[in-house]
């Protein structure tokens, strides 16, 4: 083998090794379940002490949203099925905040076990369909959004 060829071979092997190792690390890192938030169930299993900041994620329980008169304080329940947590938030909720939709709240538990949020983020759903299909889905209980028309 000429020195140039040999050098090239070494370079290719190094690249393959590097990319291989990197992909393995990336793969295992992604396996670790990139945790953006604690779900109510996780919270029930591993309680976080009051006052410690974390992110709470789940769905807004339908029918749980209460606005307190004129003030900007809102109470709602975040659920993931088995467990739920009551959230208190002072401020304007995002436009996409709807019952039955996903939210992530940032804040800490207070002493009464209620979650005091400093920030609430929401997400719209990504489905496009004609009204009649939506109606059909709603009838069968698959669609839990309120009303129709642009959000």
């Amino acid at each position: 083998m000429t020195p140039t060829r040999k050098r090239r071979l070494i370079a290719v092997l190094l690249i393959l090794a590097g990319v291989g190792v990197a992909s393995t690390i990336a793969f295992y890192s992604l396996q670790e379940n990139l945790l953006y938030f604690q779900s109510p169930s996780e919270l029930a299993q591993q309680p976080i002490p009051p006052g410690r900041q974390f992110r709470l994620g789940g769905l807004v329980k339908p029918g749980s949203v209460e606005r307190q008169g004129q003030s900007l304080t809102t109470h709602f329940v975040v659920t993931d099925g088995p467990e739920e947590v009551t959230v208190e938030y002072v401020g304007t909720l995002p436009d996409l905040f709807r019952e039955g939709q996903g939210v992530i709240a940032r804040g800490a538990l207070d002493d009464s076990g209620r979650f005091a949020a400093t920030e609430v983020l929401a997400k719209h759903d990504e489905n496009y369909m004609p009204p009649e299909v939506a109606d059909a889905l709603e009838e069968s209980g698959h669609l839990m959004t309120e009303g129709k028309g642009g959000g």
Binding site: G18, A22, L30, L35, Q38
Partner: protein, 231 residues
């Protein structure tokens, strides 16, 4: 020459180059300090611009420090190859027969030692200014330690491409900032997860994967870019 002799001469060339670049950097101390001072000034502008509320500052601290680090790195990048390009040293490197990839890697390493490492060392002070919670400080330093070499590595490709242009610096920022997006996202996510008491090791893992990938690929691209710029 036998294989071992070639390897020995290559590693000697590599370290000779690193040593020379660090010596040159210390001969021009003001240029050495400039990115660091720039970094401090940029970070200090944020409390002045958006108010000194400790909560807000703590919230934006990871982003601010990381963006300032990106800016400081880009400012220092031009020094990576420019003087060697302009005084003809780069031509001498090409003709030496040593692989240009290795030369690029040596220059990137010395660039990080001179421009990236000071950012890592300075970060505790910046974190203090930005009221970053103590528990996430360690993660902040770690992300900078793993992330700033990636900035030098990716940046070297951009410098290699723009080096033959008189006003290459302006174009350089357009070329490299989009490529820096993933590092910014992952690094700040790690720090924010740490301050929200969430696990963050997976983010550090991703950053490490990024570092390994860029160490293996970027020097080749930088060498190819330099060859094009020399033509």
């Amino acid at each position: 020459m036998s294989g071992q002799a070639v390897n020995a001469s290559l590693s000697r060339a590599f370290f000779a180059l690193v040593r020379r670049d660090i010596l040159l950097a210390f001969r021009r101390r003001t240029e050495l300090l400039f990115p660091v001072i720039f970094l401090m000034v940029v970070v200090s502008l944020f409390p002045l611009g958006i108010g000194p509320g400790p909560q807000l500052l703590a919230r934006i601290a990871p982003g601010v420090i990381w963006i300032a680090a990106l800016l400081a790195t880009v400012i220092s990048l031009d020094a990576l190859f420019r003087s060697d390009f302009e005084d003809g040293t780069l031509e001498q490197f090409v003709i030496s027969g040593h692989p240009l990839t290795l030369i690029a890697l040596a220059k990137i390493l010395s660039h990080w030692l001179v421009a990236g490492l000071p950012i890592v060392l300075l970060s505790p002070l910046l974190a203090l200014w930005m009221n970053l919670p103590g528990e996430s400080l360690g993660v902040m330093i770690l992300t900078l330690a793993i992330g700033t070499p990636i900035l030098s590595l990716i940046g070297s490709i951009g410098v290699g491409l723009t080096i033959s242009l008189k006003r290459g610096g302006q174009l350089l920022s357009l070329l490299v900032f989009p490529l820096y997006v993933p590092i910014l996202i992952i690094a700040t996510a790690a720090v924010m997860a740490a301050s929200d008491s969430l696990p963050y090791t997976q983010f550090l893992g991703l950053l490490t994967a990024g570092l390994i990938t860029s160490v293996t690929l970027a020097p080749f691209a930088a060498a190819a870019a330099l060859k094009i710029s020399l033509s």
